[in-house]
């Protein structure tokens, strides 16, 4: 070996080789510096984590790693509390520390909770909507924006309400969502949000498994995994998914204090979000905000596996149908006609 090296030095070949090696090393060093400057260290650490064969082959529903989410939820909670407290301090220094505004702001901040409630496998949520009752007033849409910390005035509303001809309901003829007068005669108002399909095309197409169907039937998005390719937006037959085109600009004091890590935490820029049936409320026994806000009681939410649930009552008493059955997605959002019609007049209102 030594001899061989000696020979090469004499031949003058090693110099060239070494120069080349130094060049490569320099290039590699430069690239790795850029790498470290550009990329998130946490992400990089995750990348270094070993990827088992299971991770690659497990193409069914994503596993719900509970501890993992709880950890993240705690972290997020702290972060949001700090943000909120900073905003509250600003108000306090302006209006005095004993002022009502200051106290309310501080109280709100202290109540901020980010949960990671796991799904209950014995439940299967579903929602139904009475098209005879719905008057298209958009109160569910507005409630949803507030409850879910959606960006205001950015076209991000999760619920869209489409006005359709009563006879054109099956092929969505004449649908529009920018009506200003309702309820009109001969029209039906169809609120559309995520249908939480049994066979969701959106989760099938996600290249990084950032969205999946949980065991209780709710389709969720992990905002920290989403790469923002918008493939799921393309795949959704109901146009229910929204993409955060804007950097988040929400006042931390406007936040809904009840949050879920897979639900209504403020979303980062450039990720996909959608209706989660208010996972922060429903998993803990509450009802979604749209169900609570509906002024005509058109929305019904419940557990399909519970024989005494509202949703079972609706299915047995009135019968239900779904939108776009030809898409084959088997939605868990049903529509029905109860027969008790809210009066529709030309010009709307009483």
């Amino acid at each position: 070996m030594v001899e061989g090296n000696g020979k090469k030095i004499q031949e003058g070949k090693v110099d060239e080789k070494r120069r080349m090696a130094i060049k490569i090393a320099g290039l590699a060093a430069l690239l790795s510096t850029i790498d470290f400057a550009v990329f998130d260290k946490e992400e990089f650490k995750k990348m270094l984590k070993k990827v088992g064969l299971d991770d690659i082959l497990n193409v069914a529903e994503a596993r719900e790693g509970l501890g993992h989410y709880e950890e993240r939820a705690k972290k997020k909670e702290e972060e949001l509390k700090n943000l909120c407290m900073a905003a509250a301090d600003k108000i306090c220094s302006e209006k005095g520390f004993a002022s009502a505004d200051c106290l309310l702001a501080k109280k709100k901040c202290s109540k901020i909770t980010v949960k990671a409630t796991p799904p209950d496998p014995n439940k299967r949520y579903a929602m139904a909507l009475d098209l005879d009752k719905c008057i298209g007033c958009r109160r569910c849409e507005y409630a949803c924006v507030m409850e879910n910390n959606t960006l205001r005035n950015a076209g991000m509303d999760w619920i869209h309400i489409y006005e359709m001809d009563r006879e054109g309901l099956s092929d969505l003829e004449g649908a529009r969502d920018d009506y200003t007068v309702a309820p009109k005669k001969g029209k039906v108002y169809v609120p559309v949000a995520c249908m939480h399909c049994e066979n969701p095309p959106c989760t099938m197409v996600c290249p990084v498994k950032a969205t999946w169907k949980e065991k209780d039937g709710i389709v969720v998005v992990d905002y920290d995994k989403c790469i923002g390719c918008k493939y799921c937006v393309v795949a959704c037959p109901y146009g229910a998914r929204r993409f955060n085109l804007f950097p988040p600009k929400l006042d931390p004091l406007d936040l809904n204090p009840n949050m879920h890590i897979l639900g209504n935490i403020p979303r980062p820029v450039h990720v996909v979000e959608k209706c989660t049936w208010c996972v922060q409320r429903t998993r803990d026994g509450g009802v979604p905000a749209c169900v609570e806000a509906c002024p005509v009681g058109a929305r019904v939410f419940g557990d399909l596996k519970d024989p005494n649930s509202p949703i079972r009552r609706v299915i047995e008493e009135y019968g239900v149908f779904v939108l776009k059955p030809e898409a084959g997605t088997n939605p868990r959002f049903f529509y029905f006609f109860s027969g008790a019609k809210t009066p529709r007049k030309e010009g709307g209102g009483k």
Binding site: K17, M20, I24, V38, F39, D40, E43, F44, K46, M47, V51, D55, I56, V59, G155, H160, Y162, D171, L172, E173, A175, R176, D177, P201, M204, V205, C206, P207, V208, K209, K225, C226, I227, G228, C229, K230, Y231, V233, V234, A235, C236, P237, Y238, G239, R241, R242, F243, N244, L245, F246, P247, V269, H270, V271, V272, K324, E326, A327, G328, T329
Partner: protein
């Protein structure tokens, strides 16, 4: 391995790599001005992408974001994804030249195969860049996409085949340059291995790209099993057309380099046949939509595409494709047009513009033109998208120029006869 004189394979690869860039950047004043012109556009495009459009990601700033492009929830995929569909087809066509050159053993074609390989490489980089520019979170994708977490997603498969085909072509290009530089011919077994792997992947990149779109019931205009064949047909028209244009320009600006007329003619035949097939597929789709289909959304989407009124640029591009495509097919049958390289290059240019019109917005947008809830969508191409797109193309044209120049230099100086 033994014939490389004891040096490592990696060492040789790096040496060839450096050689390519050294020789590719050398050149006359005119060549450098040409590169500078492209460089200015490239720099502006990259600046816009990194510092304005994706500033919230790369710089963490509050300004900027994808809202500066024309995409919205109704049209989530816009101009960038259009480039993806166009260039993935151009990349696929490298296999045509490899087939005629390596498998059928045509000497004239064998000489221009590295041009096709270089074209495939840059086309695939544009493709990937097009996806990345449209991605919300490129930094996450960089970490997560190579893991292939969801093998049911066609995007993962597409990433896999594109990456493989790009690597394969890059290696083959470098290997060819390396061999010719040493005055050696390419060994038969290398060609066999390359052909066996690359042929399915060449079809694969484009097929899988079509599979991304075609299985979506949400977008009936794209939900057609004809999409993949349609993609392949126009791909085999646009790729050779672009290569013919490059060869023609190369011949014009260099004295020593000549390509025989028969190469032009054979390629023109390929173009004409592919174009005819592509036009036929467009007719077949239109027939299905306007004659029979009872699916309202499909009908509405194709009506909006062909008759206009919603996103008019799509209608314009659709008819431009039909008009120019037909013109190119008809012209290619005129005997006098087949006699000179100039007129064949003219037909190639027509073909490229026609396929550009069809494969960009006129392929992608019809699926979004009426949204799934039957509401017409809006989409405006913004200056941001246009200039970032120009920047991406300019960057890769520089790379293309470098690769072409390096191979050309090798051919001229070292091993013009080995092929």
């Amino acid at each position: 391995m033994a014939e490389r004189g004891g040096k490592g394979t990696l060492y040789e690869a790096v040496e060839t790599f450096i050689y390519v860039f050294r020789e590719g950047l050398k050149g006359s004043r005119a060549y450098k001005m040409f590169l500078l012109g492209l460089g200015v556009m490239a720099a502006y495009g990259i600046y816009l992408w990194v510092f304005v459009q994706h500033a919230p990601i790369f710089l963490g700033s509050d300004k900027g974001g994808l809202y500066m492009t024309g995409v919205n929830e109704d049209v989530p995929w816009g101009l960038y994804i259009s480039f993806f569909t166009l260039w993935v087809g151009i990349a696929a066509s490298a296999v045509i030249f490899s087939f005629i050159g390596y498998v059928f053993g045509d000497k004239d074609f064998k000489k221009i195969i590295p041009f096709a390989e270089a074209q495939a490489v840059i086309a695939l980089i544009i493709t990937i860049w097009g996806i990345v520019a449209n991605l919300g979170r490129p930094e996450r994708a960089l970490v997560r996409l190579p893991r292939f977490e969801n093998l049911r997603s066609m995007l993962d498969w597409d990433f896999f085949v594109i990456m493989t085909y790009m690597t394969l072509n890059a290696i083959m290009y470098l290997y060819t340059v390396h061999r010719y530089r040493k005055g050696l011919a390419i060994p038969w077994n290398a060609i066999v291995v390359y052909m066996i792997i690359s042929s399915p992947f060449a079809i694969g990149i484009h097929t899988v790209t079509a599979f991304i779109f075609h299985a979506l019931t949400a977008r009936p205009a794209l939900n057609s099993a004809l999409l993949a064949p349609r993609f392949i047909a126009t791909a085999f028209a646009s790729g050779p057309a672009l290569l013919l244009l490059v060869l023609y320009i190369l011949e014009k600006y260099t004295k020593e380099f000549t390509v025989p007329l028969r190469v032009y003619r054979i390629t023109l035949n390929v173009i004409a046949i592919s174009l005819t097939t592509g036009l036929f597929f467009t007719l077949a789709e239109a027939h299905e939509a306007f004659w029979y289909t009872t699916e309202p959304l499909k009908r509405h989407q194709l009506e909006a595409t062909f008759y206009g009124g919603v996103i008019n640029i799509v209608t314009f591009l659709m008819w431009l494709w039909i008009a120019l495509g037909t013109a190119a097919v008809l012209l290619s049958m005129v005997p006098s047009m087949r006699r000179s390289k100039g007129s064949i290059a003219y037909i190639a240019a027509l073909t490229f513009i026609a396929v550009f019109a069809e494969k960009t917005l006129a392929t992608v947008i019809p699926g979004f033109i009426i949204n799934p809830m039957n509401v017409p969508a809006t989409y405006h191409i913004t200056p941001m998208e246009v200039f970032v797109g120009i920047g991406i193309h300019a960057t890769l044209l520089i790379l293309y120029a470098i690769l072409v120049k390096a191979y050309f230099y090798t051919l001229r100086v070292k091993g013009g006869d080995v092929v």
